[in-house]
């Protein structure tokens, strides 16, 4: 396959990806409507009269009225139309923006509209610069002079042609009437400001990298494959809109008070007040969580598990119920799925020995069918080999343990101790002070090092795990004591 590179192509690209151009053209046509469009009139400028000139403030007012938007948005839209080259300024012609005053603009002739069909050729630009040079030596600006020299160098082989064309265009222009000539010169100059912008200016024609495939090209490949897929899609089970949309709406309502853009962040949003208490109180493994955080755990089992503090609390509850193996198994499966490929086999075996094998120290209770599939799959382990078992255990915890956790003393205790911080009420002076006192935080690299050290310490000084002892005994061939009655 060809690898595209972005080496300068001297502007020979064309632009198939500016879908905005068609929409812009529609707006332009409306703006030029003699009855309902922007008011225009001839304007005296220096010694000539320019027909059909429009003022910046009229353009903005028309856009604001037509699209029912405020003047700032109208001004932005107007400036984009100028930036694309559909409207050009008569004064200050290099700044492609709409000024909200009596500054004058004109609609660009469709001949010079940006197009998607063909490239804006360097040849044409060279002819334009040469023509201006012929008319008056030294009239080219610095960047234009540089461009001219560059083009002269790499287009040297057709320079005769370029000079000939330039002379011809210059001669033809002299035969036009003066007012027409002035207008055409303005239009042409505006066109080149858009397509060969001065350095350091923003160009609306810049659309970034080429995409590999042209959207306008017609492709009829892989149709039969698509049809099979479409057939399968037709048979997909679907849910009624009222049900699924209802769920989306309910989700918004549930989380409304937790969304910092919709409700106050307590004690305050660090980005607004430069006070990081909110983050400190909500660190991943803080000892006492906030009331809002605990409330989130009750929204769904997923919320509880995804918050490390919540998961710890749940783990504590499960330990008291002697069903901690379920969560441990689930965590082991996650580790298998998302972990390094190299240790995957080992991990799968370890999980099997610890949780699934007959007489395993932390045996989990899954139904026969799932166990069969899992054990079979473990002969050729892959990352998703424990998927069925994991889903089963997850559902078990979700439908059973989760509910009991929320009614348990562990949870009630956590909830009782949870903090509900008061809202900060900073004065302007205090806010200024806060802004001056912004401090860096501990790097995640250090935090991870600390976490690993903590884990190592805990493993070293942990009380004797009865399950480990049992597994050692069984390895030594001694009698295995009956395992504690499984709680589900």
């Amino acid at each position: 396959m060809t690898i595209r590179n972005a080496i300068r192509d001297h502007g020979q690209r064309y632009r198939p990806r500016m879908a905005c151009l068609k929409k812009a053209e529609k707006v332009l046509l409306e703006m030029q409507d003699p009855k309902t469009g922007v008011k225009s009139q001839p304007q005296r400028l220096v010694i000539t009269t320019i027909p059909h000139a429009i003022s910046g403030e009229d353009i903005i007012a028309w856009l604001a009225d037509r699209f029912q938007i405020d003047s700032q948005e109208a001004r932005n839209l107007g400036s984009m139309l100028v930036a694309l080259g559909y409207i050009y300024p008569l004064q200050d012609h290099k700044r492609l923006v709409i000024k909200p005053d009596a500054s004058l603009y004109r609609f660009q002739t469709p001949y010079f509209w940006p197009t998607q069909q063909w490239p804006v050729e360097d040849t044409d630009y060279a002819i334009y610069l040469a023509k201006r040079n012929i008319r008056k030596k030294g009239i080219l600006e610095l960047h234009e002079q540089e461009q001219y020299n560059r083009l002269h160098k790499w287009m040297n082989h057709k320079w005769d042609f370029i000079v000939m064309q330039a002379k011809e265009q210059y001669r033809a222009a002299k035969e036009r009437k003066k007012p027409d000539r002035v207008v055409f010169d303005c239009q042409e100059r505006a066109y080149w400001v858009v397509h060969r912008p001065p350095p350091g200016t923003v160009s609306a024609m810049d659309y970034g990298l080429e995409r590999r495939i042209d959207p306008n090209a017609d492709e009829v490949t892989g149709e039969s494959l698509h049809m099979i897929f479409t057939q399968q899609s037709i048979m997909r089970p679907r849910v009624k809109s009222s049900v699924s949309i209802g769920a989306l709406v309910k989700y918004c309502a549930t989380y409304n008070s937790h969304d910092p853009f919709l409700s106050k962040c307590l004690p305050s949003n660090p980005w607004l007040t430069d006070d990081v208490t909110y983050w400190t109180l909500n660190m991943p493994n803080v000892e006492i969580p906030t009331k809002m955080r605990v409330e989130r755990w009750t929204f769904s089992f997923r919320e509880l598990l995804s918050d490390p503090r919540g998961r710890d609390d749940f783990r504590l509850f499960l330990k008291k119920e002697f069903s901690g193996e379920n969560l441990a198994f689930w965590e082991g499966c996650e580790d298998l799925k998302w972990g390094t490929a190299a240790t995957m086999r080992e991990k799968a075996e370890h999980i099997y020995k610890t949780f699934l094998a007959r007489g395993a120290p932390r045996w989990i209770n899954i139904d026969g069918k799932t166990m069969e599939i899992t054990v079979k799959g473990l002969k050729h382990p892959h990352r998703y080999v424990l998927e069925a078992a994991q889903t089963h255990i997850y559902m078990l915890m979700k439908k059973d343990s989760f509910g009991r956790y929320m009614k348990s003393p562990v949870f009630k205790d956590t909830l009782k101790k949870a903090i509900a911080p008061e809202e900060h009420k900073f004065t302007d002076a205090q806010l200024e002070q806060n802004a001056k006192n912004r401090r860096p935080s501990l790097s995640p690299i250090i935090l991870r090092q600390q976490e690993l050290e903590q884990k190592a310490k805990m493993a070293a000084s942990a009380p004797v795990d009865i399950t480990q002892v049992m597994s050692k005994l069984s390895k030594q061939g001694k009698e295995v004591a009956p395992r504690p009655p499984s709680k589900n």
Partner: protein, 361 residues
């Protein structure tokens, strides 16, 4: 006697054209049938259900930080899980890690290629991944030693046959999901660089992807230049759902926080919401005055607000349920190329071709 016999090649070509035409009609018929099936269960519109929902108040969102330091167009950014650090990448090959709160630059890497269109922060906060015109995705472990050259420990993970458009770590530092201009997405093992799964189905460049926050966490959505948004099963590599309602390239896709829907932003100047369970598009966020493409979208924490970064230098904020535009934000001086809400929803960050990043809250 009939007219002179047509040469054999021409006959074959006519037959081929007829077969293609036949296939095309059959394909169109099937697509209409799919739309029919989807419509059968469509008993209510989103905005109808949203009528009962309370309206949103006025918003005051301002730029709270401006991060200056890139020397060229900012193309991509991602948040660290610590809610204040970010990584950003630009056209000149520079990748910078910032503490957005203090605006300090903490790490910087210069990639050996330009147009670094993809960057991602590892879940642990200890590494970043990036790539672009080099067709690769590389992982750089971060170091506290200011003198250490981060490029020395770089790991080349993904290899595509065309530019890298997006990358994302999965639930750990060990796996990366990538999308590319070569039309495919792929899942890689970071340690070994091994390809774990590839995803074929897009007919053109894939421009964006997002991992599902679902309970079983095994799917992701991708958007491409073929105007399709595809939902993939990470285990099998199969495309399980596909939506083709946009009229132009899809530049950005993002899951709704519940994982049951996703939003997309396209060059056709619209954002759309797709409901995965109902299997259909349920909302279009557009306005006649918005004619420039959307480069990037993201939801607020509750999913009520959708933020869109546009090519006309603005940010539009949409009420996801009611479908109305709540706010328009100005500030950037060139295209907004990337937009992400912070992990705790307290702010969102935008990156722009004007070389800066802004934090809004």
């Amino acid at each position: 006697m009939r007219s002179p016999p047509i040469p054999e090649m021409a006959t074959q070509e006519v037959q081929l054209n007829e077969t293609l035409a036949h296939l095309k009609t059959e394909s169109e018929t099937l697509k209409s049938k799919l739309e029919e099936e989807r419509a059968k269960l469509h008993d209510v519109e989103l905005h109808q259900v949203a009528e009962k929902v309370e309206g949103l108040g006025q918003f005051v969102m301002k730029t709270r930080r401006t991060l200056k330091g890139h020397g060229n167009k900012v193309l991509c950014m991602d948040w660290c899980k610590d809610k204040r650090r970010i990584v950003s990448s630009s056209q000149d090959g520079k990748v910078i890690v910032w503490d957005a709160f203090t605006t300090n630059k903490e790490h910087a890497v210069t990639m050996p290629c330009t147009w670094v269109m993809a960057c991602a922060y590892a879940p642990s906060g200890c590494a970043v991944a990036c790539g672009g015109l080099d067709n690769k995705c590389s992982v750089y472990p971060l170091s506290l030693d200011k003198n250490e050259n981060l490029a020395a420990k770089k790991k080349s993970v993904a290899m595509h046959t065309n530019y890298l458009s997006a990358c994302s770590f999965t639930n750990s530092d060990m796996q990366i999901l990538t999308s590319s201009g070569d039309g495919t997405c792929a899942l890689w093992d970071v340690e070994s660089g091994q390809l774990l799964q590839s995803f074929h189905g897009h007919a053109a460049d894939v421009l964006c992807l997002d991992l599902a926050p679902s309970e079983t966490g095994n799917t992701f959505v991708s958007g491409g230049c073929d105007k399709k948004a595809n939902v993939w099963d990470m285990r099998s590599g199969q495309c399980i759902q596909s939506f083709e309602t946009h009229e132009s390239d899809i530049n950005s896709v993002r899951y709704y926080p519940s994982g049951d829907a996703f939003a997309s932003g396209s060059d056709d100047a619209t954002c759309r919401l797709y409901d995965l369970r109902a299997d259909r598009e349920v909302a279009i966020y557009s306005k006649e005055s918005i004619i420039f493409g959307v480069s990037s979208v993201d939801f607020s924490l509750s999913g009520r607000l959708l933020f869109g970064g546009y090519n006309d230098y603005t940010i539009n904020v949409w009420d996801v349920l009611k479908g109305t535009r709540v706010s328009i934000l100005f500030g950037h001086e060139n295209r907004v190329s990337t937009l992400r809400v912070s992990p705790d929803g307290t702010a969102f960050c935008t990156g722009s071709w004007d070389h800066t990043l802004r934090i809004w809250a």
